[in-house]
């Protein structure tokens, strides 16, 4: 998998392209149905158990449906904002960096994105908070964008780079403009890799969004934190199970997108 990235000197050997195996085998198909059902059942069971057990006053403070839904909503919002920003930044940037005129800049941006991913997410969030002074949604979304940019950026670049040169030659040769070839040939054929990168970014984002409570960003991390500080195990359980369930669900959604959004015939 590292071999496809060799066009970019800035890509270190360890940062392999995120390309999940295509969903074709029987076990994968089974997972496609089983994963969301299992997640929903387990999460629902834990939440119902927690809410219906005898709770003390402290627990009731956090373990009630409106609070849980609010925190879940914040968590999902952070994930969505981060993903949209990542796509909005990384895909155009990735395209730009594969154009002949800007190719020389690719190592610079890949190095920056590499640093973003290599640095611990919590460190990036806290540093950004200390530097900017803002808190809440954006205080966590912006550092997380930096943190999750790399998979999408790198996969966009490699996805476009790995398109057979003869197809581009054929496209230009029959009279398509450079932009036409990009939009109608290069990008569609890069979609499977871009989606694979986005799936990785989504999973990273939904996982690291549990750190949002550090900068007043809310999210399911708050349940875990509260449960830990006040030694309320049930609250911790609910927070942890919800965070894990959400991550698995997002991963599943990413898998579905890879499967259904990629143009037919594009997988190589």
């Amino acid at each position: 998998m590292t071999a496809v990235a060799e066009g970019f000197p800035g890509v270190s050997k360890t940062s392999a392209v995120e390309r999940r195996p295509s969903v074709t085998s029987r076990s994968d198909r089974f997972r496609l149905f089983f994963q969301p059902i299992a997640v929903v059942v387990i999460v629902a069971a834990v939440v119902i158990w927690a809410l219906s057990s005898e709770l003390n006053a402290n627990e009731r403070e956090t373990l009630n449906l409106p609070t849980i839904m609010t925190l879940l909503g914040q968590h999902i919002l952070i994930t969505i904002v981060v993903s949209l920003l990542v796509v909005a930044i990384a895909v155009p940037l990735g395209i730009a960096l594969t154009r002949p005129a800007l190719k020389w800049l690719a190592p610079v941006f890949l190095a920056i994105a590499n640093i973003g991913q290599a640095a611990p997410a919590l460190g990036v969030i806290v540093l950004f908070f200390l530097w900017s002074g803002i808190e809440g949604l954006w205080a966590v979304a912006i550092p997380l964008v930096f943190y999750t940019l790399l998979p999408v950026l790198r996969n966009t670049m490699v996805g476009i780079q790995q398109v057979d040169r003869s197809l581009i030659d054929a496209g230009r040769g029959i009279g398509m403009s450079a932009g036409g070839v990009l939009m109608r040939v290069e990008l569609p054929l890069a979609v499977p890799l871009i989606l694979a990168g986005l799936r990785t970014a989504l999973v990273l984002a939904v996982g690291t969004a549990t750190l949002a409570f550090f900068v007043n960003g809310g999210g399911l991390g708050e349940l875990i934190d509260t449960g830990y500080k006040l030694q309320l195990n049930s609250v911790m359980y609910v927070g942890a199970v919800l965070a894990i369930g959400l991550a698995l669900l997002v991963d599943w959604l990413g898998g579905m997108a890879e499967r259904w959004l990629a143009p037919k015939g594009a997988e190589q």
């Binding site: 054929a170 230009r172 040769g173 029959i174 009279g175 037919k264 015939g265």
Partner: protein, 397 residues
Amino acid sequence: MTTSPTTDVTASDSPGVSGAEIRLDRVTKRYPNTAAPAVEEFTMTIPAGKVVVFVGPSGCGKTTTMRMINRMVEPTSGTITIGGRDALHIDPDQLRRTIGYAIQQAGLFPHYTVAQNISVVPGLLKWDKKRIAARVEEMMDLVGLDPGTFANRLPRQLSGGQQQRVGVARALAADPPVLLMDEPFGAVDPITRGNLQDELMRLQSELGKTIVFVTHDFDEAVKLGDKIAVLGDRSTIQQYDTPDAILANPANDTVAGFVGAGASLKQLTLMRVRDVEYSTDEVMVVTEDEHPATVADRLTKAGRTYALVVDDRHRPLRWVHVRELAGRSSLLQVGKPVGDAISTQSTLQDALEAILTEGGRAVVTGSRGEVVGTIDITTVTDVIAGVREEHGVGEAG
């Protein structure tokens, strides 16, 4: 004696020609930071409606030269005109929509269906949907792919040969006067390649495009080309002539090396039996119902030893020797069956093969399989001698 269809190259006004003349004048391509230019002062006129094949060793610049015609490679200097229009002063994208382009391995878009691939250029030219759909169907018929079966398939669901056909259909979709083909059949097996070449020749006889075809396979060049340009280093023209002339009289050692051994044998693939004087009276033809004694008598009188027995529709059956006739009452069981009969459509190469297997003389049949004459080895050698003389082999040494 030989009526080669390739001798007349000024046929732009003849019926069935939709091609345009291409003129390259002192076209040079020089890449930065290289001492020698890739293509140097290339001057050539490619006649309208003809197939011109660029042939030469790898790296000689033949592809670069071809790609300058549609400006996939931008010439450093020189002029190129296509049908009188200055190609270097047209927007390259617009120019390329009027020039068909077919490349090795077809270059089909894997995420487009066959129909979508073929409709790319008409789409770029803003044809309306109905016209495009009709054109796609027409093109698929033209290249021998059933639209009902193949229109909605993806390229990976086709064989290499079928992909190549789609590639040709895509190149021809907008009915361009000029077609550039860069080793289009290089990646398919020899049998499929032969079929595709035959198809291309058939297409060309219908369409009369101006085709520039690049290959490193000299046999392919001989088969397809109305004219062949043998190119050397920096795309210098070693010889630019009909296949006939190049085979008969290579201009220099480079060309001779490229023609390779067996030039005369290749020459034979260019000529058909109908073009040569096969004999019509060398062999006595008898029907099965004649009496052996009569036949033997006639053979002796004519001073011959063999007769050809034919059926009631004059189709060849057996060779019979005068000695075999003695004491027979009927011709029905006598003689050696005729093996390979060749038709007037056969190439001289096929004729030679038949002559060799038949032991010196082969039967020539007409369109309904009837005997029209025979051909022997001296006919073939005479033809070769004649061609070599015609192209002045003696003088050039």
